[in-house]
């Protein structure tokens, strides 16, 4: 079968290039922007996903894992007394000032607990050991901190809230949504840093016993701790994510970016296809004169739209995937899952077919009698 659609598209190479470039631009915009956003959201829940807790007990109305509020640390004892709880432990998450060698003061996000390996926090130690955290005023600093604090080495000291801590190791992948670097330290050391942390915690992590029903344990914990909230790991991750999406306007901003990307794509594809349709009016008239229907012509325009969509998508996706290492180098994670990429592909095809609809109206009215006009 001769493809008039493909031949016409390739015959006018400049227009074809502009169409494909337009689609590729829209695809790149959507993939990179949303990928960056997903990467940021991934950071918002990275500690929740990696900690081995099944349930998180928080103070009432805590919006996300970074913005924690304190409550009495004795809550952990009540949690341990609930049937179905295998173990429970306190976790402090708190913003603490850190003094840099340059004299500047920066913020750091402290994660402090007693049993590091028991809760899988930190989950990726690349230098030193979490066991050393209990041997004095020590801390583990995430590698990503170098971007904010400047380079650091194991064995160096940093001052947190006026107290000197030794860097005994480094972690990877522990990053927060706010980009504040994460440091890990012993629970008691963290309590000494801030007055409000004395005899207080910000979370209680709960591991449910094998065979126990998570929902039932959660309900019982909630009953025993009426002034706290209890979330499953998934609920807590979703709450943390939703906070950044809904409460900060970032979700809306991302939505606008995606909308603009799609709009740019539609305008470019619609404009080029429409111009092409107008310039090929006599050819379409000939198609009708020799017995072709409007459907045959719609098929030509539809095929052109799909070709532009597929090639534009491949180009845009290739660019988006290619920039990932460069972005990762500056600690920006462009998270592109196969399902999201597939969704963008489907959206691109739909976008281009939608843009082709503008031309359908124009060609539907073509009078085949124009073939007799000179």
């Amino acid at each position: 079968m001769v493809s008039l659609a493909r031949k016409n598209l390739l015959h006018d190479r400049l227009r074809f290039f502009i169409t494909v470039a337009g689609v590729a631009f829209a695809v790149t915009l959507v993939l990179v922007q949303v990928g960056l956003f997903m990467g940021l959201l991934d950071k918002a829940t990275v500690t929740i996903r990696n900690a081995s807790a099944d349930l998180w007990i928080t103070s009432r109305n805590t919006p996300n894992v970074d913005f924690a509020h304190t409550f009495p640390e004795t809550a952990v004892l009540r949690a341990r007394s609930v049937a179905g709880v295998e173990r429970a432990g306190n976790l402090i998450v708190a913003f603490v000032n850190i003094q840099l060698p340059s004299g500047a003061t920066e913020g750091s996000l402290v994660y402090a607990l007693d049993d590091f390996s028991g809760w899988n926090l930190p989950w990726k130690v690349t230098a030193g050991s979490a066991d050393d955290l209990k041997r004095g005023y020590n801390l583990l600093m995430d590698r990503s901190a170098a971007l904010r604090y400047g380079p650091f080495r194991v064995g160096e000291y940093r001052e947190l809230q006026g107290r000197r801590f030794r860097i005994v190791g480094a972690t990877e992948e522990a990053a927060s949504f706010t980009t504040t670097p994460i440091v890990f330290m012993d629970y008691r050391n963290a309590q000494e840093l801030q007055e409000q942390l004395r005899a207080s915690t910000t979370y209680v992590l709960v591991k449910v016993a094998p065979g126990a029903e998570v929902a039932r344990v959660k309900a019982e914990l909630q009953r025993r701790l009426p002034y706290n909230d209890v979330f499953t790991r998934e609920e807590w991750a979703e709450r943390s994510r939703n906070y950044w999406i809904a409460s900060t306007g970032l979700g809306m901003s991302m939505g606008v970016t995606v909308f603009l990307g799609i709009l740019v794509g539609i305008v470019i594809v619609a404009q080029t296809l429409y111009t092409s349709a107008v310039e090929h009016v006599k050819e379409f008239g000939t198609v009708k004169a020799i017995g072709g229907s409007n459907l045959d012509i719609y098929r030509i325009l539809g095929e052109q739209a799909v070709i532009a969509a597929v090639i534009g998508f491949v180009l845009g996706a290739a660019i988006s995937y290619a920039v990932r290492p460069a972005m990762a180098h500056i600690h920006l994670n462009v998270l592109l899952s196969p399902s999201f990429t597939a969704a963008v592909f489907a959206g691109t095809v739909l976008m281009c077919l939608g843009a082709a609809l503008f031309s359908f109206r124009r060609v539907a009215g073509i009078d085949p009698a124009l073939v007799f006009r000179t």
Binding site: K7, K282, I290, G291
Partner: protein, 227 residues
């Protein structure tokens, strides 16, 4: 006598232009038989193109009857009109109307695809049709690389592919020089006779008379057998 492949009976066409009624065809009756070449002559505005559009099932008559390839054409049935064009009529246009992005072979093959012939069968038939018009060595040339006469030969091959019983030609020699125009007309006659097509040629070109079995004149919307 050969069978009729085209029959027009008392066809009238009225155009409404604002409040004005313009009667362009005032009761045309004519037949074209298989293998017959009929030249339709007339001055500008006489109704030639309107008649060609009606017998080509592109335009519907205001009244009258039309039969193409033995099928009665119903003016109210748009899909039926398209089907008649697809199955029973081949067109040759003054401006050739080839698809610029398609090679000679693809131009003919595409028209076969529209007519429902696909794949290897369409390819082989398109090749045969082009060899028949003497373009076997130009199969893969784009229209821009062909001369006017060669383009018109491709158009003729396209019109004949799919074996429609009727071929309608609109000023087929208007854009060709005398020698090439003569060759095209000879080819037309040869194909019409060999393949039994009914050929209706609308023309201003007096040379068409040389190949026509019959010359019909049209003036002010009425037919008159020309000398």
């Amino acid at each position: 006598m050969s069978a009729k492949v085209l029959s027009v009976k008392d066809v009238k066409k009225v155009f409404e232009e604002g409040r004005q009624r313009v009667e362009v065809l005032k009761g045309i009756t004519m037949d074209v038989a298989a293998g017959e070449v009929v030249a339709l002559e007339g001055p500008s505005g006489s109704g030639k193109t309107t008649l060609l559009s009606i017998v080509g099932c592109i335009l519907t008559p205001t009244s009258g009857e039309l039969e193409v390839g033995g099928r009665t054409v119903r003016a109210s049935d748009a899909d039926g009109l398209r089907e008649v064009r697809r199955r029973s009529i081949g067109f040759v246009f003054q401006q050739y109307n080839l698809f610029p992005a398609l090679t000679a072979l693809e131009n003919v093959e595409y028209s076969l695809n529209v007519r429902g012939v696909e794949g290897g069968a369409a390819h082989a038939e398109a090749r045969r049709a082009l060899e028949r018009v003497g373009l076997g060595d130009r199969l893969h040339f784009l229209p821009r690389d062909l001369s006017g006469g060669q383009k018109q030969r491709v158009a003729i091959a396209r019109a004949l592919a799919g074996a429609p019983p009727v071929v309608l030609a609109d000023e087929p020699t208007a854009n060709l020089d005398t020698a090439v125009g003569g060759q095209i007309l000879d080819l037309f006659r040869e194909l019409a006779k060999d393949e039994g097509k009914g050929l209706l040629v609308v023309t201003h070109d007096p040379k068409v008379r040389r190949i026509a079995d019959r010359v019909v004149g049209i003036r002010d919307g009425r037919l008159a057998e020309a000398a």
